[in-house]
């Protein structure tokens, strides 16, 4: 759910791995991000509408990933996938680290790109500083 840069890339990878993939986005022009070789289904519709989720066959899905720009949309859709449609594996992107922590405590599988990104940058910076210190000493 969500065919932005992350959603389109993930869908393309999963498709290339041989999975049966459906991409859902509220704006039909978002599917332009998918490469021509993408073999999965594209579905334009509102993913926090349970009728839409039923129509794309969510009940048969093995996994559901929510990566729209809206934290709250992701949270709501993931909970619907889990509790209404019984999808076993779900993943929910939440930019806001505090909201992410709350929903992790409530039992959702969540990821905050804010924290992950900041951590990566910090690790890289630390490494550069260590190298610089080493050069200064040597």
């Amino acid at each position: 759910m969500g065919c932005g840069r992350v959603g389109a890339t993930l869908a393309t990878w999963l498709d290339a791995d041989g999975h049966d993939v459906t991409v859902l986005d509220i704006r039909p022009d978002a599917f332009k991000r998918l490469p021509p070789e993408f073999k999965g289904r594209r579905h334009a519709g509102n993913a926090i509408d349970q009728d839409v989720l039923a129509r794309v066959g969510l009940r048969q899905a093995d996994a559901f990933v929510a990566v729209t720009q809206g934290d709250n949309r992701n949270v709501m859709a993931t909970q619907m996938a889990k509790h209404l449609f019984g999808v076993r594996r779900t993943l929910c992107r939440i930019y806001d680290p505090i909201r992410e922590e709350i929903y992790r405590d409530l039992g959702l599988e969540t990821i905050s790109p804010t924290l992950v990104g900041a951590q990566l940058l910090k690790d890289l910076l630390d490494k550069q500083l260590v190298v610089a210190d080493g050069e200064a000493e040597g």
């Binding site: 509408d49 349970q50 709250n72 949270v75 209404l84 806001d96 909201r99 405590d105 409530l106």
Partner: protein
């Protein structure tokens, strides 16, 4: 009571106004992202608006969710109303949360996710319009808290098989109870087993949600409904 209203659109604005004017003397705070709406509230209702995102922890701290007796989320987006109420409960232990829902189908999932009360304007308007339509259907009047029971209204058609029968001899679904009958001339009657159903009666009944269709069929079908189990 300290009541936090999230969303200062038409619903939030008039709700806050009513709450402020109530004799109980509530303390009310409105949270709204849009500066123009915050400005309007401040001008019309006084210094009761806080500008910010009602589901962001920093705003919630500032608003004092921790001491709120009730949080009412009435923005135009169901997903925002859901998250406001869930976070209010999970992080701030707010005792009572109320969410406005725009898509009536979201009622079930909101209840399942722990929202205490949902209010659907769409469903309310639909029910009222249905009451005006000349069809002999069943109208939901009210959902009772917990237990899956609801109060519904059915108008008995002229040719219904129940016309002229006593309530005691009707085959109604389990846990369905006729609680009030309003005659075609508007007179209300408290029914007993001996009460005779007449054409054009408005029947108000308590039933289980899953029995709605069976109840409607029992009260409106022209031919005798098949006996259960056949």
């Amino acid at each position: 009571m300290y009541i936090i209203v999230v969303g200062a659109g038409k619903v939030g604005y008039y709700l806050a106004k009513e709450l402020l004017e109530a004799p109980e003397g509530h303390e009310v705070l409105i949270i709204e992202l849009d500066a123009a709406k915050v400005e309007r509230v401040t001008q019309e209702l006084g210094d009761i608006a806080l500008r910010g995102d009602g589901c962001e922890a920093a705003t919630m701290e500032k608003a004092g969710y921790g001491r709120a007796d009730m949080v009412i989320a009435v923005t135009g987006d169901d997903e925002d109303n859901l998250v406001v109420c869930q976070v209010a409960k999970a992080k701030f232990s707010v005792p009572r949360t109320v969410a406005r829902i725009n898509n009536p189908k979201n009622e079930t999932i909101f209840k399942q996710l722990g929202i205490d009360t949902t209010v659907s304007a769409t469903a309310a308007i639909l029910a009222q319009i249905e009451q005006e339509l000349p069809i002999h259907g069943l109208i939901q009047l009210l959902s009772l808290k917990g237990g899956g029971l609801e109060i519904v209204e059915v108008k008995v058609p002229q040719r219904a098989s129940v016309v002229g029968k006593r309530i005691g001899e009707l085959l109604l679904p389990q846990q369905s109870l006729i609680t009030l009958i309003v005659d075609s001339d508007g007179t209300p009657r408290v029914p007993s087993n001996e009460t005779i159903i007449r054409a054009e009666d408005q029947v108000v009944a308590v039933t289980r949600r899953e029995s709605e269709d069976a109840l409607r069929a029992a009260l409106t079908n022209s031919s005798s409904p098949a006996a259960p189990g056949r």
